[in-house]
């Protein structure tokens, strides 16, 4: 494996600075003050205990979705279907939770999480089978399954599972024993983020401290070389597929059982896709994406606060900023990386 050079580390903040410069120009062009806007982003995401808790809560689904993409990516399996797996995971988790009302949380919550993980994995099973057995590239099956998943959840929340007492397209509330326990009273700071952080540590451990992880990374770095070196590439892909689907399912349930407490239509604003951005921003390293998820969550919550402030910057501009940051970091990193590794 190639050692990352100093240039690659320096390039990271360079990419961030470049993107902030681009963003400032855009802000100026539309008549906003860049400095107060950036201050607003910081105070809007960490300014109060509640805002901080919102930011930390949001890290949970982003981090889990990013891990889901990342672990598969490391074996060169492109799971674009995290969004769909997240919805089906949430549905399975909800179905389990609805049956578990009579049990205490210590029993009900782990079972619900397990069901969600199973649901996510199940939704990835067909693309995974198609890749391993039929050699069909997974990008398109996983992508297409997203839309089917969305239609499934749209259907159940409008039809069979709809709460008849609610005007919204959503299920009745989950039994209270299955709500993820809140860690700080009257905030959104709940167990979900701990699940996500634990998952990041587990994935780090699996990737870098186990034989399976070595095989996964070898399969991703060069499938042909790995195969001739005795690594079963299909087995690596199966392993990452199972982990990826499970993580995606967890990403869905930490939202449903953590804050929403119902399964609602369109409850995900695209966490599955945003996770890919977070994974890229974290340089596809499990611990790197923990940091990236803080940044991404803070921008989102800060952006939402900014929308209501005196500047009233539409949130869409912040979404654009997120894309500009990731793209700039990738471009600068690749550019610097190519130049610093030349001639070695």
């Amino acid at each position: 494996m190639r050692q990352p050079s100093l240039g690659r580390y320096v390039s990271y903040p360079l990419g961030i600075v470049a993107s902030l410069a681009i963003f400032s120009v855009i802000l100026l062009a539309f008549g906003y003050n860049p400095i107060t806007s950036m201050e607003g982003l910081v105070s809007g995401s960490f300014g109060t205990t509640f805002l901080t808790s919102e930011t930390i809560f949001l890290m949970g689904p982003l981090l889990l979705a990013a891990l889901a993409f990342l672990v598969a990516f490391r074996a060169r399996f492109y799971n674009i279907g995290v969004e769909g797996q997240l919805y089906i995971g949430a549905l399975f988790g909800y179905l389990a939770a609805a049956q578990l009302g009579g049990f205490p949380g210590v029993v009900a919550i782990p079972l619900m999480l397990l069901a969600a993980a199973a649901g996510g994995t199940l939704w990835l099973a067909l693309p995974l089978f198609m890749r391993i057995k039929l050699q069909v590239n997974e990008i398109f099956p996983t992508l297409v399954m997203n839309f089917i998943a969305l239609d499934v959840v749209n259907w159940v929340t409008a039809g069979p599972l709809k709460n008849p007492l609610s005007g919204n397209l959503q299920t009745p509330p989950l039994p209270e024993s299955t709500w993820l326990p809140v860690l700080v009273k009257s905030t959104q700071f709940n167990v979900g983020i701990l699940i996500a952080l634990a998952a990041a540590l587990v994935i780090y451990f699996v990737l870098y401290r186990t034989v399976l992880g070595y095989e996964i990374r070898a399969s991703g770095a060069s499938p042909r070389a790995a195969q001739s070196g005795g690594v079963d590439v299909s087995r690596s892909i199966l392993a990452v597929g199972l982990m990826s689907g499970a993580l995606a399912g967890l990403a869905g349930i930490v939202v449903v059982a953590g804050v929403d407490h119902v399964l609602a239509q369109n409850f995900s604003p695209g966490y599955g896709y945003q996770g890919i951005a977070v994974a890229a921003l974290g340089s596809f390293q499990p611990l790197g994406i923990v940091v990236a998820s803080v940044l991404y969550a803070a921008l989102t919550i800060g952006g939402e606060s900014l929308q209501q402030g005196a500047a009233a910057i539409p949130i869409e501009l912040i979404y654009a900023l997120q894309a500009i940051i990731v793209l700039s970091v990738l471009i600068v990193q690749k550019w610097v990386g190519d130049r610093t590794s030349r001639g070695r």
């Binding site: 674009i80 992508l143 471009i331």
Partner: protein, 314 residues
């Protein structure tokens, strides 16, 4: 009481305008992928160009300016993708998804700003009633009373098919995608061909967005509810079509038909007897068809050899 003949005619007639945006976008993506570059940003580019062309036509009153503006902004996004992936060598999948986010949010941002003061809408381009033919029963309303952008999408697919298979340019593009090293030694500028193909793909994605809004919907909606997956489907159509602009006509039409069946059935209330929410099943049909297609025909679907692999001269 709806007669079955009327139902079939209205489904088929509605399927062609629904095919149009996916067709424009997919023939552009055929060119990009044939040269070796995957662009996952189409969905977002369509959304951005839909807004830009709507706004342009709304402000100037000219459909032509709207179309040109949409294509220009699509070309610009294509150029950005080409810069990131061909020039710099960023992972094509990731760069494309970022282009999706960027373009989608820029379009939404623009719309939010503009609609603070105005309600942005245009009357979609009217159908051309082809004399005599449009009065024919059944085929008249289906084939001979569509608008010019619908006809344009089919003609462009045929034209770009001819270019790809019957001209030296097309040969160069296919060579660059299949075997860039050999193309390079034959004196073809690999990255120039790729840049141009990606920009062409972006331009046609722009035209796709413009045609959706000017030739069909006449308005914009935020949060990707306007393009609503058509850009992603365009990428699936490319696989359906096995990277052929001709076959893209059939592929895009299959999905157009799926959308049309869903829309007409839901409109006619045919599925409401199956319980609330069951209409969503119909919306899933095109996607289920896509999966089945990939399952059944997987052996024939071989992508261009160098797709997603950046080219560096040795």
């Amino acid at each position: 009481m709806v007669s079955y003949e009327d139902l079939v005619v209205s489904i088929l007639a509605a399927s062609l305008p629904l095919t149009m945006p996916m067709l424009y976008a997919s023939i552009g993506e055929v060119y990009a992928e044939r040269s070796g570059v995957l662009n996952m940003g189409i969905e977002g580019v369509m959304s951005l160009s839909a807004f830009v062309s709507l706004w342009t036509t709304f402000s100037t009153g000219s459909y032509l300016y709207g179309l040109l503006a949409g294509m220009a902004v699509g070309a610009a996004m294509g150029a950005l993708h080409a810069f990131a992936t061909v020039r710099i060598g960023v992972n094509q999948l990731i760069a494309g998804l970022m282009i999706y986010f960027l373009a989608l949010s820029m379009g939404d941002f623009g719309y939010v700003i503009v609609t603070k003061t105005t309600y942005l809408h245009v009357r979609p381009i009217s159908p051309v009633q082809i004399p005599a033919l449009s009065n024919l029963p059944v085929v008249g309303p289906i084939l001979f009373s569509q608008n010019v952008l619908v006809y344009g999408s089919f003609l462009l697919a045929i034209f770009l098919g001819l270019v790809l298979y019957r001209t030296t340019w097309g040969l160069k593009i296919r060579a660059v995608g299949e075997n860039p090293e050999a193309a390079d030694s034959a004196g073809i500028n690999v990255n120039l061909v790729r840049n141009l193909c990606v920009i062409l793909g972006g331009t046609l994605a722009g035209l796709a967005g413009a045609s959706l809004v000017l030739g069909y919907l006449g308005l914009y909606a935020t949060g990707d509810t306007l393009v609503a997956g058509r850009g992603w489907i365009a990428i699936v159509v490319v696989i359906f079509a096995r990277w052929s602009p001709y076959k893209a006509i059939a592929g895009a039409w299959l999905f157009g038909l799926g959308y049309s069946v869903a829309a007409v059935f839901i409109g006619a209330g045919i599925f409401s007897s199956l319980g609330p929410g069951s209409g969503y099943f119909l919306l899933a049909i095109p996607y289920i068809v896509a999966i089945i297609f990939m399952l059944v025909f997987h052996r024939g679907t071989k992508s261009p050899s160098s797709l997603t692999v950046p080219y560096k001269r040795k």
